[in-house]
């Protein structure tokens, strides 16, 4: 009987078409509900505050009056603001460059040694990244202590005079960068190591047969193969470093004389401690252009890689 029905096209198409379609529709409804907590979280606690920051930045200190670009004009007229802009860029760019170089070099050394020892070294070298930054910065603060500096004690052995690590503007800038590099370069090292492992050995063998020196091998094989990872890691780190708070806050709290303030710490000083929330919001908004540029490049790299696969 059923056989007859199946062989009759007219009888077949008489059936309404809805079940599977409905099922697919229900599927996207379920999927949407499953993602709803995520959507709400992002909307309420990230997207809304980000937009709200823009609105806040246009209010006066008492948040009673709309002042338009008043806060920004005020900032442009202050030397401290330009000092913060300068220090933020110096801090982020220098730190990322050194993290990238140290990470690359250390990754190479780890990659060089026999693979059974690599895990141990890798584990040891990643420790700075694992410790909460506020805690490890405390250790650095103690190493930099003006009267009991353990680093100066070591330098004294070599006859070098004590360095005012956090006491003098230039050295304080150096110190915050040093601590940031210390915390961040293990991350680069791990990323580069993973990238190094993904370069097929045959490429190096082919390059050696072509007569490449070790330096040429790095330049013509390793770097091009790792370009994407290097770019993404660096851009990513640029964002995180630029938006840093913990290190500067704990190590120098912006001092001496505001010389080490970056956007995050200065916004905290002005907005929370100084009670001028709109001005603080205006300061933190200056991070957005750099973040946006870096994010665009990262997204482009990631989608490019996606389409390659």
């Amino acid at each position: 009987m059923a056989d007859v029905a199946a062989r009759n096209p007219a009888a077949l198409s008489a059936q309404p078409r809805s079940g599977l379609h409905k099922l697919m529709q229900r599927k996207s409804t379920i999927a949407f509900l499953m993602a709803l907590p995520l959507i709400l979280l992002i909307a309420i606690l990230v997207a809304y505050p980000a937009g709200y920051a823009v609105y806040l930045a246009t209010l006066n200190k008492g948040m009673t009056r709309f002042v338009g670009f008043g806060n920004f004009e005020f900032l442009f007229g202050r030397d401290t603001f330009w000092l913060v802009v300068y220090q933020s860029c110096l801090f982020a760019i220098t730190a990322v460059i050194f993290k990238a170089i140290i990470g690359f070099v250390v990754a190479h050394f780890v990659h060089n040694i026999p693979s059974k020892g690599q895990r141990k070294w890798r584990g040891m070298l990643l420790v700075p990244w694992v410790i909460p930054p506020a805690m490890s910065t405390l250790a650095w603060l103690w190493l930099f202590d003006p009267s009991y500096s353990a680093l100066n004690w070591l330098l004294a052995i070599f006859g070098i005079e004590g360095i005012p690590w956090t006491g003098e503007a230039g050295w304080a800038r150096f110190s915050v960068i040093l601590v940031n590099v210390w915390i961040g370069s293990p991350f680069f090292m791990i990323m580069y190591l993973a990238a190094l492992k993904s370069v097929p050995d045959q490429l190096y063998e082919a390059a050696s047969i072509d007569g490449a020196t070790w330096w040429q091998r790095i330049w013509y094989v390793t770097l091009p193969m790792m370009r994407n990872i290097i770019a993404i890691t660096a851009l990513f780190s640029l964002i995180v470093t630029f938006a840093n708070f913990d290190i500067v806050r704990v190590l120098t709290a912006g001092g001496p004389l505001n010389s080490t303030h970056i956007f995050g710490t200065w916004a905290f000083r002005v907005g929370i401690e100084g009670g001028d929330i709109p001005l603080g919001a205006a300061v933190s908004l200056f991070m957005v252009p750099i973040l946006a540029v870096a994010a665009t490049f990262i997204l482009r790299d990631i989608t490019k890689r996606g389409s390659e696969v």
């Binding site: 995520l38 410790i131 103690w142 202590d145 791990i190 991070m287």
Partner: protein
């Protein structure tokens, strides 16, 4: 002909030797520099440990800072018998554990929906998750500060100066990253696996709980470790939103209560910092491979 080639071959012999000698030297240099870098990377935590085992008297005596003459556990005893420190520790532990549970529930379910079920706008949302992950907390704490004041005025719920507020706040930092990692892990599971489950008669929830979660377990462990580490280490939010000593979490507690005025009790500060660093370090020591897998997954997957 044959003679000539042998004659040519002879001088090339020592070259092989020099090649392996080069290798040996390269290896020796690698170890040498690795030791130097290891000293650099491990110096602060080691110095923490050294200081934490010293008496205040020895610290202020300005003797060799890298040597302990009278090792003592007094700093640990003092700190751990202090009610305040234990409160910080408890606050941190509860916050971190709750954040981990909340984050993993939200992100695993959402990642499954985004990676596998596709709905209107799901691709945009996946990109949005990634962008959110790039938005730093330094951009958000000021508007959040004001929003909390508004919530207090409107609903009479005081979010300020409570440790449990952190349970609401930290997921903004952890959920985007955990979701991003999990999308990557789920996307690497072959599509045929959920089709097989579909034919076997599994519902979407069963596919998630019986197939995806067990298969992506390494990813889930990595995301969990990360969430915990981030939650434990977070400094800005508690610093901005909590002030009473009973409401502080560990990192802020140590810094705001142990550093008082001009009197720096470095022995206790270092002990506190070391104890504050201990939970992530211990987890890292045991689950290093998952930790590293998660670290590289963030940027290499997706």
């Amino acid at each position: 002909m044959a003679d000539a080639s042998i004659a040519n071959g002879a001088p090339s012999r020592p070259r092989y030797g020099s090649m392996s000698r080069d290798r040996a030297w390269a290896l020796r240099w690698s170890y040498f520099f690795l030791v130097l870098f290891a000293i650099f990377f491990l110096m602060p935590p080691v110095y923490m440990l050294i200081t934490s085992l010293k008496t205040s008297a020895e610290i202020s005596a300005a003797t060799n800072p890298w040597w302990i003459s009278n090792p003592t556990l007094q700093n640990y005893i003092d700190l751990l018998s202090q009610n305040q420190f234990l409160v910080f520790f408890r606050n941190s532990a509860i916050v971190s554990i709750c954040v981990v549970i909340l984050t993993m529930m939200i992100s695993v379910i959402a990642a499954f929906a985004l990676a596998r079920m596709k709905f209107w706008g799901s691709a945009t949302l996946a990109t949005g998750v990634f962008l959110t992950y790039l938005i730093p907390e330094t951009l958000l704490f000021i508007p959040l500060f004001k929003m909390f004041a508004w919530v207090n005025e409107t609903f009479g719920v005081q979010l300020m100066n409570h440790w449990w507020t952190m349970i609401i706040l930290y997921p903004t930092l952890t959920v985007p990253f955990a979701t991003w990692i999990m999308i990557g892990y789920f996307a690497s599971i072959p599509k045929e696996l959920d089709e097989a489950a579909l034919i076997d008669g599994a519902t979407w929830m069963q596919t998630l709980t019986k197939i995806f979660i067990p298969v992506a377990l390494p990813g889930i462990i990595a995301a969990t470790i990360f969430t915990f580490t981030v939650a434990w280490a977070q400094f800005l939010y508690p610093l901005a939103f909590t002030t009473s000593t009973s409401e502080l979490v560990l990192p802020v507690g140590i810094i705001t209560t142990l550093i008082k005025g001009d009197v720096f009790n470095w022995g206790q500060i270092m002990t506190g910092a070391l104890l504050g660093a201990a939970p992530p370090l211990i987890i890292y020591a045991f689950l290093m491979d998952y930790y590293i897998a998660g670290l590289t997954a963030g940027a290499t997957k997706g």
